[in-house]
Structure formats: structure tokens, C-alpha cells
Amino acid sequence: MDGILSEKHRIVRRSVRSFCDREIRPIAGEIDREARFPWEVVEKMGKLGYFGIQAPRELGGADLDSVSYAIIVEEISRASGSLGLCVTVHNSVALYPILAFGSEAQQEKWAKPLAGGEKIGAFCLTEPNAGSDASGIEATAVSDGDAYVVNANKVFVTNGGVADICLLFLKTNPSGDRREISVVVAERGTPGFVVGDLEDLCGMRANPVSSIRLYDCRLPLDNLLGREGMGLKIGLAALDTGRMGIAAQALGIAQAALEEGILYARQRRQFRVPISKHQAIRMMIADMGTLVEASRLMTYRAAALKDSGKRFSQESAMAKLFASEACCKVTDMAVQIHGGYGYSKSYPVERYYRDARVTRIYEGSSEVHRMVIARGVLGKK
């Protein structure tokens, strides 16, 4: 780890942790219970650069490396999984594709307010009938004069309830090749752009996950990102970075669960000693510590590979798969250590347990990740 982390990374961690401990941790339970998006904190995070972590400075970003990005998402998620989710989705699958594939005018128009945290971004791929099989989407964009006429029903949109700038995956040639998918940017407020009800989810409740629907919505042809038919390429590039973010998020939640587990095991006394003296608890703590450390190494390594300009898709997929499954195990053990109290809302571990579960599902399920990883490990033969 010492080879990967520099002095800069330590200062990034210290300053983000200090902010999160003071501003986010104290309200994390409350915003989860009330399913409330904490604008008051999000505004402060925007001013500190949390919404433009890797964007260039000319566009108001912080221009940090991917290892810093992973540390920041880890630290925010350690305080609140919901806010970690907001930040990672905004940065990696909304802002990043605009930076990587957008024209100069598009960067000025959308990347700038996104990087400064003045606007929140979203990534709209999933539909009721298309998830793991992204090429099966049914949303359409038909060009008509200077605009696309868009009809779409996008579901489970992270940040959906608050997003101003949404990347929509659509079929630009609905009658032709089923793979001709493109990305068109839609701004909230455009006539025909409708934000659906917020989802009532098991975890990540402070994130306003919603459906977004477009009914004959006219979006200028200039809102096309890259070229027509580039949708899957843009999506895959975004998800490589996004997966690293989800790995970092799972790592942060697991770290929080480990810390709570240790704290409780030292305080709780049964059979006249703290339960941390009982072998059964010690075995769990050992496994939790090991899983967290392994997740951290895999996540930072994927990030370091990206920083050095090397291929990192396989490592990022492995990190996401491992860290999300580790997070579920670690939060489960944290609940177990707490016994009945762990199942109660009096302690934060039940929130971690709920938040952890979705990390194995979104931005590619564990099963899709295993498919992708197997392809990489076995080669094409």
C-alpha cells in the first residue's frame, strides 16, 4: 500500500475524513430514516471540489488522480453510503463521459456546472426490460429537423430526483441494427422530461433514486455525445471507472462496519469479559479486517493502473466484484457481533447491512462481472 499511496493521498484522506466526520456522520442515520437528500451538506461538498474530483481545473475541477478519487469515495461512503453513491455516480458515469467524449461546447455547457457541484448528474441506462443486457434498451430518439424526439422510460436512476443533467442511452436508429445505441444529454426542465416517483429502496435511502421518463421530448441534435452508435462504447468506458467507484464505495461501507464491530466488541460484556475476548468474535473480526484490507488493495491497484495509463478494466471489474461481496460479508458479521442490537435502528450497522446489498447489483451485477472476468481470464479461445 505504501508504494501506491503518496503524501498527497494521505492529506486527501485526512481532509475528507475530517469533513465527513464533522458534517456527514452526525446526520447519516437521520437522512437514511427520512430518505432525505441533504442539500445543505451537498452544497459544501460542491465548494470543496467533491463533484469535480478528476475534472480539469479550467472547468472548475480538482484534477486529482484516480487513487485520490477512490480514497474520497471510500471516505464519504464510510460516513454515508447514499452520499458516496451520489458522488461516485456523478463523477464517474455522468461527468466523466462528458469530459471524455463531449465537444468543447458541451464541456463548457455541462461539465463546468457539474464539476463545480452546481448541478448534479445522472446516468440513465436501465429500463424495465433492459439491465444486464444493455443492448436490449427500448428508448428511442428519432431525428426531426434540428432535434431528436425522445421517448424513454428509464428506471432506478441514481440521483434521479435531483439531477439536472442526465445522460440517456437511446436507440437513434430504432428500425435498424439493434446495437445502434447513442448517448443524448437531457436537461431537467425540458418539456416532456418527467421525474417519476422516488423508489422505496432497502438501502441507500438518502439518495433520490427515481425513474425518469421522456414523452416526445425534443432534445437538440447538439446534445448527442460523441457520434451516433457510440453509446455502448461510452457506456463501457464510463462503467470501467464507475466500477472502481463502486468498489471504493463498498470498501468505505465495510470499513465503517469493521470499526463499529470493533467498538462494540470491546464495549459489550458477556460471561464477565468484553466479547472481543471470545474466540468466536475474534475470528469474525479477523475475517472482517482481512476482507477490508484485500478490498482496499484491489481497489487502489485498479486506480493506480488507471493513473499510469495502463489497462484496468479487468482489475476494476475484479475489485468491484470482490469489494461488494466482501462488504456484504463484513456488514453481516458486524450485525452478528452486535446481536439483537445490530438488528435495531439504534446502531448504524443495520444501515450498513442494507446499504451493502445493492453494491452487488448495480453498475453490473456480480454475475455479469464474473462473466466479464472469466472472458478476460480465459481469453477468447
Binding site: K8, R10, I11, S15, L48, R57, G61, A62, L64
Partner: protein, 259 residues
């Protein structure tokens, strides 16, 4: 040249496992009592313009403290480092910092943390001011700059003291008086973009080895050990009134409550 503030900061040891003091970047961090000091300096700069210089004496591991100062918004950082400084006590440290500050003249204000989190003497600020022969006020909780005069507030023994003092002057800053800002991510990125920290050694300061390090230190730390805290529980006897009387007697005898 404009308004010039110099802040003296230290990189402190976070942990000394097995009682061994090893200074590495992993175990060091900017002294937490120095963060409010940097904040005070940066707020004055924001109000009156000018520049802030941070200096730190210590080994290479102290660079992290200077980088953090830069990320907060300091304009210039200087690491004062030389193998000859090893083993300096507070007097030798003040000699070195004083010599460094002489090279930074002209300045209007020198600021120190009230103490450090690792050695906790609180002596370096006042001693350095004596070395420089400039006025010094401790535990300052408010600073106003009015045409060559600082108006300063200090709370001591439940009294608010106000001072007017001309520059150049040195203060230590009350740790609770200036809530340090959160570091913006772009500030951190910028701070590490280029190697900007200047380095001064013994000969740059025009000092002789006899006045610094072990040789220049009249105090010796003979040993260091962890203090074990013990708690003892005692039940008072008698009826409620007798117990209350006995409790009052003990509390007032121990000085826990006023007589």
C-alpha cells in the same frame, strides 16, 4: 512588499508504538495546534492582502506539514533541515527558528501554535520572540490590523484582555479561536503539483553547530515511559447525610470544588 506574516509550524509524531519515536511520513502530521494558526494568518491575508510564509524545522518527513500549509493557501514554504539540528531542545529550536526568521525580514507578524501535540512544552513561541527581540502575546483569540497597529484579544483567568501592539510582533494562537477551513480538493492537487518547498540548512542560517542540536541544548530527556492511569472506587459509609458531608469534605479538600 506588503503585509507579511510568517507562521512557524511543526510536523508532529502521531504514534510512538513500543515507545519508539520514529519520524516517517506515515507517522507524522501537521501539529493540530498549528491549523488554527494558519487559519488566522490566511484570514488576515484575505482581509489585508500581502503574503503568508510557512517555515518548519525538522527532518524530511516534515515536508508533509508544509504541503498541507500550501494546500490551505500559504504562499511560500521553507523547510529548515540539517543533520546538525538532531536532538535540539526548545532553546536550540528557538535559535534555529530565530535565525530563519532573521532571513525573512521584513515581516509584520510571526505566529506560532500555542503548543505541539507531541512534546507539549509551549516554549518555542515565546523563546523565539526573545531571540528576535520582538514583543510577544500568548493565547491570542482575536486579531485586528489597524494602520501599523495590531489590536489583539486574549482571554485569561476569565478576563478579556485587549492589547494594542506595533509590528513586528509575535503571537501564539488560542487553539479554539480560528476554526480551520476544510481543504478544497483543488488546493491539495495544486500543492503537490511541483516541488516548491525551499530548503535552508545550518550554513544558510549562518549558525555554528555548537549552538544547535544536542550541543546547543541545555536540557536532556532522560527517559520516557507511558503513565498508567489507575482508578479506585470507594464506598462512603453512614447514612445519606453523613455520606453527603463526607463527600463534600473530600471534594473541597481535593480542590475539586471551591471551599
Amino acid at each position: 512588499m506588503g503585509f507579511h506574516i510568517v507562521v512557524c509550524i511543526k510536523s508532529v509524531i502521531l504514534a510512538a508504538p513500543e515507545e519508539q519515536v520514529v519520524r516517517t511520513e506515515d507517522t507524522s502530521e501537521l501539529n493540530p495546534f498549528d491549523r488554527p494558526v494558519l487559519e488566522a494568518a490566511l484570514r488576515l491575508k484575505e482581509l489585508h492582502g500581502g503574503r503568508v510564509t510557512a517555515i518548519s524545522m525538522g527532518p524530511e518527513a516534515s515536508l508533509s506539514a508544509l504541503s498541507e500549509a500550501r494546500a490551505m493557501g500559504v504562499d511560500r514554504e521553507i523547510l529548515i533541515s540539517d543533520p546538525a539540528f538532531a536532538g535540539s531542545d526548545t532553546l536550540a529550536t528557538s535559535t534555529v527558528l530565530g535565525a530563519g526568521l532573521q532571513k525573512l525580514v521584513p515581516f509584520d507578524l510571526v505566529l506560532f501554535g500555542v503548543r505541539t501535540a507531541d512534546s507539549d512544552t509551549g516554549q518555542v513561541g515565546p523563546q523565539t520572540s526573545v531571540q528576535l527581540g520582538i514583543p510577544f502575546i500568548s493565547m491570542v483569540s482575536g486579531i485586528e490590523w489597524q494602520k501599523d497597529v495590531f489590536r489583539v484579544e486574549r482571554v485569561a483567568d476569565h478576563f478579556l484582555e485587549e492589547y494594542e501592539v506595533t509590528s513586528p510582533v509575535a503571537f501564539t494562537i488560542h487553539p479554539g479561536a480560528f476554526e480551520p477551513r476544510d481543504l478544497g480538493l483543488s488546493g491539495i492537487g495544486r500543492a503537490f503539483e511541483s516541488e516548491r518547498v525551499e530548503r535552508w540548512n545550518l550554513s544558510d542560517l549562518g549558525l555554528v553547530p555548537e549552538r544547535v542540536g544536542d550541543a546547543g541544548s541545555p536540557t536532556r530527556v532522560i527517559s520516557m515511559m507511558r503513565v498508567k492511569e489507575t482508578k479506585k472506587c470507594e464506598f462512603l459509609k453512614g447514612d445519606a447525610r453523613e455520606q453527603a458531608d463526607e463527600l463534600m469534605k473530600r471534594l473541597s479538600e481535593s480542590g475539586a470544588i471551591g471551599a
